[in-house]
């Protein structure tokens, strides 16, 4: 299928998310749409998929103009989409999910046999094994993604859009996915790959279109260097590698012993974990999302009771303390979900900068709150951390993701810390801000602080960590020095493979 977008414009109020975007995808082509978070890639694809209506511009399929009022229209025109957050009903079986919206019935009764047969046929044709009877919520993320692809293929699409498909995959799963995409291309399908990961783009794309702030800023060949692509994407030269000297570890700051934690449903999420973070080093905890990292950090922070074990900060027990006591003991915390756990979106930037300090001097006492001290503090922090905001009194929710994250980092790093816990500090943050945040983390280390970094992005772990602990199913299955670690080796560990 040949797809052409001409002058697509989409506005949300004053914000122009897509500004006269032109794009041509040739039949049998893998076309990468490269851009930072918030550049407008997903908006463009939602327009193409009929989820949003464009304000201007037209969509042409095989040179025929089309109007998509709903995803149903896009599907019948031969366009399928695998969303970043999977569009699968967790309590349904694979077959139910795939047949939904295109159900075969026999005398009004759902024909599950026919659906299963069709699924098996498609999955054999393209080499995508799925079990039609499995319940989706019991499947690993990689398999769920496969279900999404099969779902699109059973609808006989000719063009498949994949929105950040590798965000939740291990390096090996990513390789498998790229292999599947090559197979689809060989079968004559066109593919649009939305991503901000340069390596994948170089590995698989035939053509690259770069989007920045809602505009197409250029096209490139996969032959271009990563540095050049990054510069196009961000609009200036960026340093992809963090400069850092060798760590000089001192005395242990955080010692976790035999810690076990259960998740919200009462299942064991963390089992007998031991770990140690020394002064002046960054310990990176790598792992695929959902292997107990969240529960581990929440237990250390006093946000979730531990079942057993101990958490020592410089020899003092933290387990059983309240979160405020943990913070007061000298722990800084950048939570993984900044919008629900890190910020009060309706509060101003200035207020968010003192969320943990508002009742201690100079910002106030038990009875009073001193706005002028808060404002002064905000002015300094905004300058020091390069927070781009209209004013200190703007609601923090109006800032971009990267700047929101900088507000959290500024708050957590502006008091003396023994330990900094940073969970997914680069998630949903633009490259420029990532660069800045990473530098601050290394500076914290160089000043003698201990840093516990949790990330599902291997690049981030490899860039920052001095030692790496890999979490798999609630256990730390290996700890290794960053010096000898490669993404292949870590990828295997993240998938639970420990054999030497």
């Amino acid at each position: 299928m040949k797809l052409e977008l001409r002058g697509i414009t989409k506005r949300f109020g004053d914000l122009v998310a897509n500004d006269h975007i032109d794009l041509v995808v040739e039949p049998g082509e893998i076309h990468a749409l490269l851009g930072e978070n918030g550049a407008g890639k997903s908006t463009l694809m939602n327009v193409l998929y009929g989820l949003l209506r464009p304000d201007e511009g037209e969509i042409l399929v095989n040179d025929v103009p089309q109007t998509f009022r709903s995803p149903g229209d896009a599907i019948s025109a031969g366009i399928g989409m695998v969303h970043q957050h999977f569009m699968l009903v967790p309590v349904f079986t694979v077959a139910e999910n795939i047949m939904l919206g295109a159900e075969d019935t026999k005398l009004g009764v759902l024909d599950k046999k026919k659906a299963s047969a069709h699924i098996t046929e498609v999955s054999q044709t393209y080499g995508l094994p799925v079990d039609p009877e499995a319940v989706v919520e019991t499947l690993p993320v990689g398999v769920q993604q496969r279900v999404e692809i099969v779902k699109a293929l059973t609808r006989e699409v000719d063009l498949l859009i994949l929105d950040e498909p590798t965000a939740v995959l291990t390096p090996q799963e990513t390789d498998e996915l790229l292999e599947v995409l090559r197979g689809l291309k060989a079968a004559g399908k066109s593919i649009v790959l939305i991503t901000h990961k340069l390596r994948e783009v170089k590995a698989i794309a035939d053509k690259i279109t770069v989007i920045r702030r809602g505009k197409v800023v250029g096209t490139a060949d996969p032959g271009e260097s990563e540095d050049e692509l990054a510069a196009m994407m961000v609009g200036r030269h960026v340093q992809l590698v963090v400069d850092k000297s060798a760590a000089e570890p001192g005395a242990p700051v955080l010692t976790v012993k035999d810690l076990s934690v259960v998740d919200d449903r009462g299942h064991r999420a963390v089992t007998d974990i031991d770990l140690e973070v020394r002064a002046g080093e960054v310990l990176g905890v790598a792992g695929v999302q959902g292997n107990g990292q969240t529960e581990l950090i929440e237990a250390i922070m006093g946000l979730r009771p531990a079942v057993s074990g101990s958490v020592l900060l410089g020899g003092a027990e933290l387990r059983g303390r309240t979160t405020r006591q943990v913070l007061d003991a000298g722990v800084g915390y950048v939570p993984e979900d900044r919008s629900t756990d890190g910020l009060v979106k309706e509060f101003t930037v200035a207020e968010n900068l003192v969320l943990d300090l508002y009742k201690s001097e100079p910002f106030g006492s038990k009875l009073v709150y001193r706005p002028e001290a808060v404002a002064r503090n905000a002015k300094d922090r905004i300058e020091e951390f390069d927070v781009r905001t209209q004013s200190a009194d703007a609601p923090v929710g109006s800032l971009s993701g990267g700047n929101q994250q900088k507000v959290i980092v500024a708050r957590e790093m502006s008091r003396p810390l023994k330990l900094l816990i940073a969970s997914q500090p680069a998630r949903g943050v633009d490259v420029g801000s990532i660069e800045f945040i990473h530098k601050r983390i290394i500076r914290e280390r160089d000043q003698g602080g201990a840093v516990l970094l949790v990330s599902t992005e291997l690049d981030e772990i490899l860039a920052l960590a001095d030692r790496i602990a890999v979490m798999y199913r609630g256990e730390i299955i290996a700890t290794l020095p960053a010096a000898g670690a490669t993404s292949e080796k870590l990828g295997l560990l993240m998938a639970g493979v420990t054999g030497d």
Partner: protein
């Protein structure tokens, strides 16, 4: 700390409560205020069983104690919770029934047939209401408005049934009025994104108000012209109604009871085996996913909510033209909320909701029976029984249930 919390899990807490309640039953019903007269269980017109009430009560109390001990000692798995609750609480209720009957002023006979017949009658409006909830909530719209929908159904059934002199017209009008009320709920919930719990309560007040005014101004002063509908006559199913015990209990009802049971079967089938059901459940669980497959989420929700209102309206008519009773102000008396509880207790499944409704219906029938034989239990306490049963069922026995994931969450694109 932790060890204590782990020891007192849900099963053990329930076990301790059963031991306590069982002992109380033995001591109070069996010893300190003992049952005196023998109790006769009349199963059919010519089969009766007579028991010494006291030994039966003591045995039932001890059964409860035994279940409690078993829960404390050995039955620690989660799966044991539900059936043990059924046995223990069932034994307690039976003990109470025997005791109440034994000390009654008039008769010492429990008419099993009539009691179960009454259970079904009392459960029928609850089944309709809970099915209305299933239809709405499976598609993701919370329906706190069941009470109001039942009430307008009862009202319209009586009013239109009288004016047209046709109970059938009354029945249709009841469904339509319930659907209209639900349409209001749907518009505000789906289009204007109003909080669905608050909205449901407000619409209930609206239903009280409208029916109350018309009742006082029109139906009460001119009862003969406006509040004097006929009644759906019972229809004995040929053959089946002659089965001993089962026949009289199940097959000598009027349209409403049969319709309720048929709807349970029909909705179960539709929900799990048809395209409509698959789409309904998808929209209630993950509306965005449904939308990306071209399913019109809001349309599904409108349709289901209005269908739910129609069903609840029919259920309301059971209270007037189904029972041969005139309409009365706020005559639903919380039945809509008990239906809501049945929906939750039944875990959003039509069959589960029906079973829960039957349980609450039994509490109601028992209450009516014990009042009629003038048992020593104060009547105010007896009237609390269905509500108490609801409270215990929902608070204590349900535990963590999983509602449809998008229940009550409006769907906004983008």
């Amino acid at each position: 700390m932790t060890t204590v919390a782990q020891f007192w899990n849900r099963n053990r807490i329930a076990g301790a409560v059963y031991v306590l309640l069982g002992l109380l039953a033995v001591l109070y019903f069996g010893v300190s205020n003992p049952a005196k007269n023998d109790v006769t269980l009349r199963l059919t017109a010519d089969t009766s069983l007579t028991f010494g009430a006291r030994p039966v009560i003591i045995v039932l109390g001890l059964v409860t104690v035994a279940v409690g001990v078993a829960l404390l000692a050995v039955l620690t798995a989660r799966s044991h919770f539900a059936w043990t609750a059924g046995v223990a609480l069932g034994a307690l209720v039976l003990a109470f029934l025997f005791w109440g009957t034994s000390l009654a002023k008039t008769l010492h006979t429990i008419p099993v047939e009539a009691l179960l017949y009454g259970t079904l009658i009392a459960a029928t409006p609850l089944i309709f209401g809970a099915l209305a909830g299933v239809l709405c909530e499976r598609s993701g719209v919370v329906n706190i408005n069941i009470e109001g929908q039942l009430l307008v159904g009862a009202f319209a059934g009586a009013l239109v049934g009288t004016m047209t002199k046709s109970v059938w017209a009354g029945l249709i009008a009841a469904g339509v009025c319930g659907a209209l009320m639900a349409a209001l709920l749907a518009v505000f919930a789906i289009k204007y994104l109003v909080d669905q719990v608050v909205l449901g309560v407000v619409l209930n007040v609206l239903a009280f108000g409208i029916t109350g005014v018309i009742y006082e101004r029109l139906m009460q002063p001119n009862a003969a012209e406006y509040n004097n509908a006929g009644q759906f006559k019972p229809w004995e199913v040929p053959g089946l109604s002659d089965i001993p015990l089962l026949g009289p209990v199940l097959f000598r009802h009027n349209l409403f009871v049969y319709l309720a049971l048929a709807l349970v079967a029909a909705i179960t089938f539709a929900l799990f085996y048809t395209r409509w059901g698959l789409r309904t459940r998808a929209v209630g669980e993950h509306p965005t996913a449904a939308d990306t497959l071209g399913i019109k989420v809001r349309l599904v929700r409108y349709r289901n909510t209005i269908m739910g209102g129609f069903v609840a309206g029919l259920g309301g008519a059971m209270l007037t033209i189904g029972a041969g009773v005139t309409f009365n102000k706020e005559m639903t008396a919380g039945k809509g909320f008990i239906a809501l509880a049945a929906l939750i207790f039944g875990r959003w499944s039509p069959v589960g909701a029906m079973l829960a409704a039957l349980l609450f219906g039994f509490a109601d029938a028992m209450q009516q029976f014990l009042s009629s034989v003038i048992s020593p239990v104060p009547s105010q306490f007896l009237q609390m029984a269905p509500y108490l049963a609801t409270l215990f069922a929902v608070a204590g026995l349900v535990g963590k249930v999983r509602a449809p994931a998008a229940d009550g969450k409006p769907y906004v694109k983008g």
